[in-house]
Amino acid sequence: MQMKFMVKKACCSGGRAGALELGNCPKPIETPALLLSTRKGLPHFIAPDLLPSLPFPDSHLLQISPLHFLEGLASTTISKIGGLHQMLSLHQYGIAAVARDSIQCLPESKGATKLGPSFETPCGRLSVKPKDYVEMISCMRPNIWATLADEVPAWVSEKRNKTSVDRTVRWLDDCLALNPAAGSVFGAIVGGPNLDERKRCAVEVAKRNVSGYWIGGFGLGERIEERPALLSAIIDVLPDEKPRMISGLGLPEEILEGIDAGIDLFDSTYIYSLTLGGFALTFSLDKGGNQYDFQRCQVERDLTKINLRAKVYRKDMSPILGNCTCYTCQNHTKAYINHLFNVHEMLAQTLLEMEAIKDGRFKKFRMTFIESRRVHQETEAVCV
């Protein structure tokens, strides 16, 4: 189950393409990559027998929050079943455990104490101590896990921000000292919108014996203009040969920015929010980068997505994206999905999520990316 990471190609600005090898995945996962966001271990709406219809090996990395299982499933039971891979029957998938899921388990800085961070979850506010967390991880046996972080929003005081860095580094030491047998440890890096604190945290974490880095504290109120500087401050002190994961960047533009700065793994909460809202992404899937010329309609869409709840699609018997090869586009029409949304049927979300994941929303960015930086041709396919 040992993880291996290799940078295949890097460019001067920091952007890079690599490959992540996990013991149980038959093929290396090319980075930059998206992690499928999950709820209790499975993608929100896609049943496990439909997962293989997503492209291989691109969608073979899942992000799981161990906190989800506190709602009704004891860690010992998971351990008895044989860990997450066995319980979810996803033997060939990579699983990365991060406490924060950016959807339902959000960091709650006011509740954090020196003993451990606090999270708002569907079953109330939870305080998680490093010891409990490491115990959960040992039972779940993910491929990758991020240590606990005291994530604070951008508006807290300097003092509180400084404390969060101190705590995060201490909890990292606590987690490492407990020395769980399972998985590769990703050290958590925080520091809010403060450049010096970010750098201090990154330097401290880089000194520790970890297999990779998890960057937290983003998407919590910092200004978009601040991000590139913060990211590069962190990345500059991190060793090149270890993978970097980030949480809290959602929009395609933000992910592009992250790729530019040299981040390798991203969460995909954007897909989830779009799906809930009834939006379908309509980027080009064309490898040549030509924007597929779908019919022009002036309402309810921008250049990248369409709102399938809109009335114009009531009779639209065309697929979401004409040249898309995903299950949804191959089998269903906009009119049908529009109807499903109208009558509140849950299949609508299933179809849309499949569409979104396969859609290749990052293709467009791949094109901009590879044009300017000539990175590996297939890089972004990972994100599809």
Binding site: P48, T333, M346
Partner: protein, 460 residues
């Protein structure tokens, strides 16, 4: 072999039994077939059916091209003219055991094996499952609700896009109900007159008149393989003149439905036997419908809260009265035990929301009955839902994991619906193959043994 379950209660129920015997002799006993059902318990039809030695399998296949096997005297009596309606189905009986039969039902879109269970996809989708999953688990016909589809997305839209098959991209069989059942389920919204039913639309609150002609026109536009005549449905728990009125109205409406049916060569119009629990009314209705020579017949108005004794009596009477060479569909039946009982009595098709609805409430169907996955005991149970089930869910997931999903996450409903539908479809397949292979009694014994004898201890 099970002991006759009614034997113990015999002495206490002499009075009731006499009434039953009278009922049998007077009403259904003319042919001598139904006389056998004298039990007072649910298992009576089954025990009766198992008392017979298996007869040599009839080798002749019956299609609807051939004259009816039951000689037709009953249905044709007193009528000189034979109505011939166009049919878009072929019904070939492949095997029999007493009254139970296994058949091949060829519809315009799919060749089906009966007995068959039809999952209910009210609004053009089985809640939470994709078409590919439904094909994987062997779903043959999906039922759509005319009432709901007419409201949204409207039948005009469905017609415009080439029917419901095209709209939901489902290549196999479809059946639409008439909207009549919603008279019962949404009664506070409905006003029933000779002209039709006036519903209050739940979408915009406007009154919406559903006449037999309208119902058929809508169903013609939806384009399902099987369409149902509009019937006047009353709750089975109601007695008195309303039942009689509803039955006669159903008979009057069937002619209006036949006249309104514009696509008899692509769609099969099934008539529905009504008449509540009254054997005389049921008999009149069945005879009346058989005279219309429809492609198939349904037994309606059941599963509305009547006791099981009345339920199977009505099914037994109706299946005996309906022609041998046409499919028989018991509407709204979905408990596994009821399906086995009805199949033993000669019914072929069933539909119910039970497997999917109960899944959404956290209950799994297993050979021993049901498994309540919300129960605390499931939290640490690392066995699959049903260790003998080869479905995707049972192969991959533990009760403990499903326990933490059910009723909280969409995935819980999806996985449980998948298993429950698999269970129902597998049951249909087993019924079919056991009848064809001449081991129906063994199958029923085995089924009952598991279901009845392990009631006290859920879970193997």
């Amino acid at each position: 072999m099970l002991p006759p379950l009614h034997s113990g209660t015999r002495s206490r129920q002499v009075g009731k039994e006499r009434a039953n015997a009278l009922w049998n002799r007077n009403i259904v006993g003319q042919s001598g077939v139904v006389r056998m059902f004298r039990g007072t318990s649910l298992q009576a039809p089954i025990t009766w059916c198992l008392c017979f030695k298996p007869k040599p399998k009839p080798k002749t296949n019956t299609t609807n091209m051939l004259p009816p096997l039951h000689s037709g005297t009953r249905s044709r009596q007193g009528y000189s003219t034979t109505v011939t309606n166009a049919m878009a189905l072929v019904f070939e009986v492949l095997g029999r055991f007493n009254r139970a039969r296994a058949a091949r039902l060829t519809l315009p879109h799919h060749v089906c094996q009966t007995p068959l269970f039809m999952p209910v996809g009210t609004q053009g989708t089985i809640k939470g499952l994709t078409n590919s999953q439904l094909e994987d688990i062997g779903c043959q016909i999906i039922l759509g609700n005319t009432y709901h589809l007419a409201l949204r997305p409207t039948s005009e839209l469905l017609d415009e896009v080439g029917g419901l098959h095209n709209f939901m991209n489902w290549q196999r069989g479809l059946l639409t109900d008439s909207g009549g059942f919603q008279m019962v389920s949404l009664l506070h919204l409905a006003d029933i007159t000779e002209k039709g039913v006036t519903f209050q639309s739940p979408v915009d609150g406007k009154p919406m008149l559903l006449t037999p002609e309208e119902s058929i026109q809508i169903q013609n536009r939806i384009g399902a393989d099987i369409i149902m005549a509009l019937d006047d449905v009353v709750k089975t728990t109601i007695t008195g003149p309303r039942v009689e009125e509803a039955m006669y109205r159903t008979l009057r409406w069937i002619d209006r439905c036949i006249a309104a049916h514009k696509r008899p060569h692509d769609q099969n119009l099934f008539g529905i036997v009504q008449g509540g629990l009254d054997p005389i009314l049921r008999d009149i209705c069945a005879k009346g419908l058989v005279d219309r020579n429809l492609p198939g017949y349904a037994i309606g108005g059941l599963s509305g809260g009547e006791d099981k004794n009345s339920f199977w009596r009505v099914v037994a009477q109706c299946t005996a009265a309906l022609p041998e060479d046409k499919p028989r569909y018991v509407m709204g039946v979905g408990y596994p035990l009821d399906i086995v009982v009805c199949s033993a009595l000669g019914a072929d098709m069933y539909d119910c929301v039970y497997p999917t609805r109960t899944a959404r409430f956290g209950t799994a169907l297993i050979p021993e009955g049901v498994l309540k996955l919300k129960h605390k005991a499931m939290a640490e149970d690392t066995r699959p839902i049903d260790p003998t089930c080869p479905c995707m869910v049972c192969k991959n997931y533990t009760r403990a994991y499903i326990h933490c999903l059910v009723t909280k996450d969409a995935m819980g409903s999806q996985l449980l619906s998948y298993h429950n539908l698999y269970y129902m479809l597998q049951l249909s397949r087993n019924l079919h193959s056991s009848i064809v292979e001449g081991r129906f009694p063994e199958f029923v014994c085995d089924f009952l043994h598991k279901m009845v004898c392990s009631r006290k201890s859920p879970g193997p």
